[in-house]
Chain length 266, copies 3
């Protein structure tokens, strides 16, 4: 039997909004450690990994490891019916082919049960080794989201270049070019407004803006985002989920064969 | 001659927004008692009844009973041109085939006259007898609107079941099932947040969510909604209009012949 | 070389939003006096004239008169990437076929360069002589915008009639007629809420609402709008840009040959 009670139910609502456009169907894996998900996006280009640790739940009962296949769009439809202050409990009986989401209003005057059919989904869990990155940028998540959105109005790809002084986001399109530089800045009033760069060596990598913009749907989960870059590895765009875990997006860099690569397609 | 001056003109704006999608053309009936309307929706399934009592108007002159046929969509277009703080006066000369809406800004610096052609509309006034209901639920109107909207994302019909403990709203669709229970609750800080159930006998009735969601467009008219249920009668969904009257929606329950009835159509 | 630094960069953003739907491509003329534009709308009916005086810029360097042809839609795409509190600098090297917009965040932590190709645009600069008008109406810009929007829901043209008592905006359409009168009113708490009429002789002129509504996109630039009317001249709808200049729209009146003129076309 599975029963996971999450007092800050809005977290789960935000998680679903963050990933439902990227991934159609996915297995949620539940173990003593926590509630997690790993899935490729529907075009098999990006990978999303979610972890909500068991300690973050008010009540966490998971008698045996279980993998529950869900259609994320349907799951999102149900979670949208939860109020932002509701407590959400995820329940499943052993051997059942359904999952139940229970929403309790803070005053306990309104209680909702939404039951959804589970799906059989083939998936293999990729081991993602801890790696060394050439550069790690931590910056305000809203700033990163704004930059990705702005650049997408000009071009299709973004070149992210890191030096000690700062991180540069560049694009090029039919109407012109754009370069946005965010300087390292640790002397801010609020720590979440800092831009902090840890650099072992300079790095400059190109990514599809479409995916970056999709990742930024997780912005509401965290005030900061961490971007880990290495020329041999997919970039990791990570949003920490306070006291519970994280959502991480992985995306392979584009190999720029020639100049045309960065131009929008006709 | 007809001249009805309504200081809180926004009420009339809200009334039109509440009914214009349900009813295309309707007769407004004006008598010494008040300004009223009774009309079937365009598919002849639901009935709406509106009353604005003469006492609620700052000035109310209606020399003889008159029935004015109006296209509600056009009337709504005109009323949308009134400011939310404007005083609205409805004027018609005897024998005229037009009605004039006059909007005065609170400072009297801006005065608008909108004149609209009247229509000849056949309609018979149904007598709606006072009836005994099995159960009457009074609850916050925003809560009811939220529930109808949420359930419509899952299914097409709602089963409303009343017991002494509370009222349950249920639906079923392709992606799963949903049950929302609102408990009787009279110990709230503000009376308009109470959920109060008067029950003579338990009742469980099925309705089309499409209509329920249409009725909830009246939510801005009142903080509370009253739902009167009886197995032999159409449900009445009533929004009181402060110190003036009410808007009531009537809808016959669906007879559930088999399980397929509650499933969405392919 | 050209380098114009505008501390209140949001002004330039608003200017572009005000004119980009009216004009596709236009030459910005830069001289020692200021940064200006004069262009016909794409259907050659309305004229827009913009002036931002050099004194309004924090830094203004313009070595020689230069005319820069820009696609306003592309320019608007770039300016939308500037934050509302950003300082905007317009830069162009002598003989270059590009212009650069630089956006600096108030904290100087984020600096963006957007480079856009210039275009060759044929245009002749019309001399617009200072003229005597029959009537000049100054009123709150939001009020004027609201009136144009409201009337457009009823008809296609507006008749603007000025008498000493006030200004009347009228329209007529399939669903009826509308008249909105704004009274002269100089005794208001805030000067920008006044409606002030200077009249030499009464005037009544007809204009296409489509253009008027387009002009009102400049509403955010100024709390007041000035409408100058004369039966022999195009109307001038002017929005002052605080301490910098103005944006003026010119539109020829419609000649009403018969009653049908004011009715919407089938």
């Amino acid at each position: 039997m599975l029963e996971l009670r999450l007092v800050q139910g809005s977290l789960l609502k935000k998680v679903l909004e963050a990933i439902k456009d990227l991934v159609n169907d996915a297995n949620f894996d539940c173990s003593a450690t926590g509630f997690s998900l790993q899935a490729m996006d529907s075009s098999h280009v990006a990978l999303v990994a979610l972890l909500l640790r068991s300690e973050g739940f008010e009540h966490y009962r998971c008698d045996r490891n279980i993998s529950m296949g869900m259609n994320l769009n349907n799951m999102s439809k149900m979670l949208r019916c939860a109020g932002n202050d509701d407590i959400i409990t995820i329940k499943a009986d052993d051997g059942s082919d359904t999952v139940t989401f229970m929403f309790e209003s803070p005053t306990q005057d309104k209680i909702a049960d939404f039951e959804m059919k589970l799906m059989d989904i083939d998936s293999e869990h990729l081991g993602i080794p801890e790696a060394e990155y050439h550069a790690i940028v931590r910056m305000p998540s809203a700033e990163f989201a704004r930059i990705c959105k702005d650049l997408a109005s000009i071009g299709d790809t973004v070149v992210i270049s890191v030096t000690k002084e700062g991180v540069k986001f560049s694009t090029r399109g039919d109407i012109g070019t754009a370069n946005i530089v965010c300087r390292q800045n640790t002397t801010v009033d609020k720590p979440e407004e800092a831009t902090i760069i840890e650099m072992n060596e300079p790095v400059s990598l190109t990514f599809a803006l479409r995916y970056m913009n999709s990742f930024t749907k997780a912005t509401s989960l965290s005030n900061t985002v961490t971007i880990s870059l290495s020329s041999e590895l997919p970039v990791v765009v990570e949003y920490k989920i306070a006291e519970m875990g994280y959502i991480r997006f992985y995306l392979a860099p584009k190999i720029e064969e020639d100049d045309d690569e960065t131009k929008p397609q006709a």
